[in-house]
């Protein structure tokens, strides 16, 4: 039942936040934050015991079509759900002082998108999954289209086309899967467990797998399906960018881990070599393009593409070590990239530009912002001792036994990572001061956010074992080799 609360509270919070701005402009923020805090209070205690499924909830939904409202929570979805809630809270706090138009509707969209994301991580019925997938994406289109920056229209259209395209592929895929299953067994069902272990063979099975794979890779924004990401992440308002990069990207990886590989073990094995090479291509392509960007936000957007290359490799080497690394990297990337988008958002608010050519020497004017900026850039680069390194190392370690060449190439990809990281620090924070500025450094609200995120990334890097322990049962249950 508490699983329903995880969905109901943010949905309801969104509905309350919408009209609340008529009473007071701050009220939507407070309502949203309280709703998310309540959701977190529900989610945190659910991690108990040693059983693999922490919680399960199932009622018939449309029995005639074999659809049920089936939610389930295991360690992996718990981690991603908590990440969603926590970064959702950050995305609300980040725009606390900004003057947002239609602030009620803005927060309603944020909350609905978060609720949809939580649903994506919980759904164990494929049709329900599709439903939440759409719930997650449509409010985000509004956020980009209404509250985005100068090119928001194009960004929103691109985002809409790509996500709806991938949504269509998912719909076709799950319908096809259900019908093939019905033909084979005589039962029409969209239940995850019913479909598990009945991989449809032949060309049809492979095509369905391919469709789902493409859909999730588009969401993951791996090369060459990444083209929606840079413009979307750049044009979205800071809160939207945080949610997009820290949370929504992860649903693509989650879809691959939860559905594509377990439901289609043979077909995905056939596809694995291509997926691995796409991963390598993403790592290098994202890194090289990040280096060349002049827009700071766009630079960070491209680094995500590079990091998701590691995720793609980790998923398709199909062993438990690499999958642990993938889950870990999803969380660490969520924290570090979320922090970076907050920092760039703060810079844009102060400088009214995102262009690196107009920055430089910021360390003198904004020592706190710059220190945090350099810290999170280095964290994202995979500095050992911080969270991202643990994820990347486990992926490389897991991948090395299965695909040594790919692993070596991926490791070499850490060199361009250093290049774009240092050039970002150099062009934004170091270097000569190009224009005189009278701007304020981080205040206590921003400092507190940054310290919390920095503490999280250090904790992840220094003591990752609790997170690994939470994810372990779900990963070993998904039938990958240990």
């Amino acid at each position: 039942m508490s699983l329903c609360l995880l969905l109901a509270i943010p949905l309801l919070g969104g509905c309350l936040a919408w009209p609340a701005d008529r009473l007071h402009p701050h009220l939507p923020r407070i309502i949203s934050l309280l709703a998310l805090a309540a959701t977190l209070a529900v989610a945190l205690p659910m991690l108990h015991g040693t059983s693999f499924w922490l919680a399960d909830f199932s009622v018939p939904w449309i029995p005639a079509f074999g659809m049920s409202f089936h939610l389930g929570l295991d360690g992996m979805s718990w981690l991603l759900t908590v990440l969603t809630i926590v970064l959702g809270m950050f995305s609300i706090v980040v725009s606390w002082r900004e003057n947002v138009e239609k602030i009620g509707f803005f927060h309603a969209n944020l909350m609905w998108s978060l609720a949809g994301t939580i649903g994506v991580f919980l759904a164990l019925d494929l049709f329900l999954f599709f439903y939440f997938w759409e719930l997650m994406l449509v409010p985000m289109v509004f956020i980009i289209a209404i509250w985005g920056h100068e090119d928001r229209r194009i960004a929103a259209i691109k985002f809409f086309l790509f996500t709806q395209g991938s949504g269509l592929l998912i719909l076709i895929g799950i319908l096809g899967l259900a019908f093939l299953h019905q033909r084979a067994t005589g039962v029409l069902t969209f239940g995850y467990f019913a479909l598990l272990g009945h991989e449809p063979g032949g060309a049809a099975g492979f095509l369905i797998m391919l469709g789902l794979f493409i859909a999730f890779v588009v969401k993951l924004a791996a090369f060459p399906a990444h083209v929606w990401l840079p413009v979307t992440h750049t044009q979205a308002p800071t809160a939207g960018s945080v949610i997009l990069a820290s949370i929504l990207l992860k649903t693509g990886a989650y879809g691959l881990l939860r559905f594509v590989v377990p439901l289609f073990p043979t077909a995905s094995h056939t596809l694995a070599p291509i997926a691995l090479w796409l991963g390598v291509a993403s790592i290098f392509y994202g890194a090289v393009l990040a280096y060349g960007q002049n827009d700071f936000k766009r630079l960070i957007a491209y680094t995500s593409i590079s990091h998701m290359g590691f995720v793609l490799i980790g998923v398709f080497v199909c062993n438990a070590l690499a999958w642990q690394g993938v889950v870990f990297l999803l969380i660490a990337h969520g924290v570090s990239t979320g922090a970076l988008f907050i920092i760039v958002g703060a810079l844009q608010q102060r400088l009214h530009t995102r262009e690196l050519s107009r920055m430089g020497g910021l360390w003198g004017d904004l020592p706190k912002l710059s220190s945090f900026g350099a810290f999170f850039v280095l964290a994202a680069m995979g500095l050992p001792g911080l969270g991202n390194f643990v994820g990347e190392f486990l992926i490389l370690r897991g991948a090395y036994g299965a695909a040594p060449l790919i692993t070596i190439l991926a490791a070499i990809g850490l060199v361009p990572a250093a290049l774009y990281s240092l050039i970002a620090i150099q062009r934004a924070f170091h270097g000569p001061v190009r224009e005189a500025r009278a701007i304020a450094d981080f205040g206590w609200r921003e400092n507190a956010m940054m310290l919390a995120l920095a503490a999280a990334i250090i904790w992840l890097g220094v003591y990752p074992q609790p997170v690994l322990d939470v994810a372990a049962p779900s990963i070993s249950a998904m039938g990958v080799t240990p």
Binding site: F223, V227, V288, L321, S371, G385, V462, P464
Partner: protein, 618 residues
């Protein structure tokens, strides 16, 4: 007491965190106190542990303090733990004690600079990372310290960030070492796959039992790890970052060159020497590369006009000597030279910093002169350092360590020994070229006096440089074996002493070098060299023999070209093509809807005709 070892890296780390958090809010004086005292306390603790150790070594001559489980998974685990053994003990003493004096010196040297607290935060973090590197019991934990050292050197080399050049030097130092570190990471991955853990003793035992000497895998792994070491230790062909790293404040150079960073590669090979013994080919490669480095550094050192660059190349050369020792398996001799070099190189950098402090940060030796009487303290300190660096017999620690090392090299390979002797000769020439040019001849004006925070480090380090060598002396000077006895449990006994002609040549070479430097000083050659515009060959030597140009051509330019080509995201362009095609088609079709009835009728006719034809002929 041994259990307190965790405090040794933790204290500087706490200092760094404290300074990082409080940074701007506390007065500069307090920042210096926090920065220096955290390392000072760590040094005191390290000394205390060392004394206890020498009084009663723990069983097995090693003490492991497991701290916490970092990663435990079915096929891989890593435990964070600290290991004290003779090797790490010597190194924590070197790092913390010399590190402390560098902090103390910095407190005066950096006075009045912007970002004073930030400077000490970086410096503390640097020392903490290096201490973690040498104390780590697990290669992955060591890698944390390893990269931490790289980041700190990046931050400190680029400390004066307003200068674009400093930023470039800082990036270069990080990226060159990062490239090397990726090779090391791949080596670590192979070990992790093979042995399921990176615990150093487990890996070494596993390697010995799994791999026969001279087989393929130990050579690959040792080679990859070595690349990481070569990068950090600035050895050919990864030496290019070191001269540029002089862009940082001088005490930072002292820290990088003496106590931290560049010794990491030597430490790595010593720590894993069991693995390297399984790969004789790699050891040969180490020796060969070291010989090249020694010669390259000595030749480049001869033509530098920036005093810090002279010292930078001398570091490269001295680390080359250490690698020469490693290449012939003289682990203890390499360690002795490491410790001795740390002392005199810190002394040289700090005294050169003391000189330029009084000359408005002038670093060109030809803009100096006659400072012997004006700055007697700096002169005495620099002279002691130079005597050690040149390995002038009996005077300083450099003689004893180089003599010990070259004796071991002679026993293995007389040819490499010859290169070492040639290097020693050239070292004598180039360092005394600097001594004579800076401290003798016509004098320049200076002003100001040194405070105690400069005097104390210089005095202590100079005394240490004079005394340290007597811990390990050749037979004709008493045959003390204190240092090698300390290391013996970890690295085996001392090498045999070289015969007297060998020792004699070893002593004569630096003296001849100094003599030549003096003769050229007397006839004014050095000054003329400094005044003349350099010829092609000299410029080639000055620039480090073309490595930079080579790397620019084969790495930097292709990368920047790729960046330029891909800048606008060609994949995105393809999708935009689709968009443009759709828009274009839309326009064309819209033009057809123009209200001209005749045209509509024409199209209808054509359509009907086509349909009829299709029906008739199908």
């Amino acid at each position: 007491m041994m259990r307190d070892i965790w405090l040794v890296p933790a204290l500087p780390l706490a200092g760094a965190v404290l300074l990082g958090l409080l940074g701007g809010k506390i007065p500069a004086r307090l920042a210096a106190v926090i920065g220096a005292s955290s390392v000072g306390l760590a040094a005191a603790l390290a000394i205390r542990i060392a004394l206890l150790w020498f009084a009663a070594p723990p069983p097995g001559d090693a003490f492991l303090l497991p701290l916490w489980t970092w990663i435990t998974l079915p096929k891989f685990s890593a435990v964070v733990g600290l290991l004290i053994d003779p090797v790490s003990l010597v190194l924590i003493l070197v790092i913390s004690v010399i590190g402390f004096f560098i902090h103390l010196f910095s407190a005066e040297y950096m006075e009045g600079e912007n970002g004073y607290a930030r400077y000490f935060a970086y410096l503390n973090l640097f020392v903490a990372s290096m201490l973690l590197l040498v104390l780590a019991n697990d290669l992955l934990v060591m890698f944390v310290g390893w990269e931490g050292v790289g980041v700190c050197s990046y931050l400190l080399v680029g400390f004066w960030f307003e200068e674009e050049n400093n930023g470039e030097a800082a990036q270069k130092s990080f990226i060159v070492t990062r490239v090397a570190d990726i090779a090391m990471l791949i080596g670590i991955l192979i070990l992790a796959l093979r042995f399921g853990t990176l615990d150093i003793s487990t890996v070494l035992h596993g390697a010995v039992s799994a791999w026969p000497p001279g087989s393929f895998w130990p050579a690959v792994v040792a080679g990859l790890l070595l690349v990481g070491g070569l990068g950090k230790s600035a050895q050919v062909p990864l030496q290019t970052w070191l001269p540029d790293a002089m862009a940082g404040p001088t005490p930072v150079s002292a820290l990088i060159h003496a106590a931290t960073m560049v010794t990491a590669g030597v430490y790595l090979v010593v720590r894993l020497h069991v693995l390297f013994l399984l790969a004789p080919a790699v050891l040969h490669g180490i020796a060969l590369g070291a010989a090249l480095t020694v010669l390259l550094a000595a030749c480049a050192g001869l033509v530098q006009s920036d005093i810090k660059r002279v010292l930078a190349y001398s570091t490269m050369g001295q680390i080359g000597y250490m690698f020469l020792g490693l290449g012939v398996g003289a682990w203890g001799a390499a360690m002795f030279h490491l410790a001795s070099h740390a002392i005199f190189k810190a002394l040289l950098f700090l005294s050169s910093g003391a000189v330029s402090m009084r000359l408005h940060h002038e670093q060109n030796i030809f803009a100096m002169g006659g400072l012997r009487t004006k700055l007697p303290l700096a002169f005495a300190a620099f002279l002691v350092g130079a005597l050690c660096l040149a390995a002038v017999p009996v005077v300083g620690c450099g003689f004893f360590s180089k003599e010990f090392l070259l004796g071991a090299v002679w026993a293995q390979n007389p040819l490499l020994w010859g290169v070492g002797i040639l290097g020693a000769f050239l070292t004598g020439v180039y360092i005394f070229r600097a001594v004579f040019t800076v401290f003798f001849g016509a004098s320049v004006d200076v002003s100001g006096a040194y405070g105690v925070r400069v005097i104390l480090p210089l005095t202590v380090l100079a005394l240490a440089a004079l005394g340290f060598g007597w811990l390990q002396t050749p037979d004709f000077l008493g045959g003390a074996n204190i240092f090698s006895n300390v290391l013996a449990p970890a690295l085996g006994g001392a090498a045999t002493d070289a015969s007297w002609p060998v020792a004699l040549i070893g002593m004569a070479a630096p003296l001849a070098g100094i003599g030549l430097a003096y003769a050229l000083h007397q006839n004014g050659f050095w000054r003329r060299q400094g005044a003349a515009s350099p010829g092609l060959f000299v410029r080639f030597l000055q620039g480090g023999m073309g490595f930079d140009a080579l790397y620019r051509a084969i790495f930097v330019k292709p990368f920047l070209w790729t960046v330029r080509v891909l800048k606008d995201d060609p994949v995105d362009q393809v999708f935009q093509l689709l968009q443009r095609a759709a828009v274009g088609l839309h326009k064309r079709l819209r033009e057809e809807q123009n209200g001209k009835l005749r045209r509509y009728a024409g199209w209808m006719m054509a359509g009907s005709l086509a349909t009829i034809l299709a029906v008739v002929f199908s």
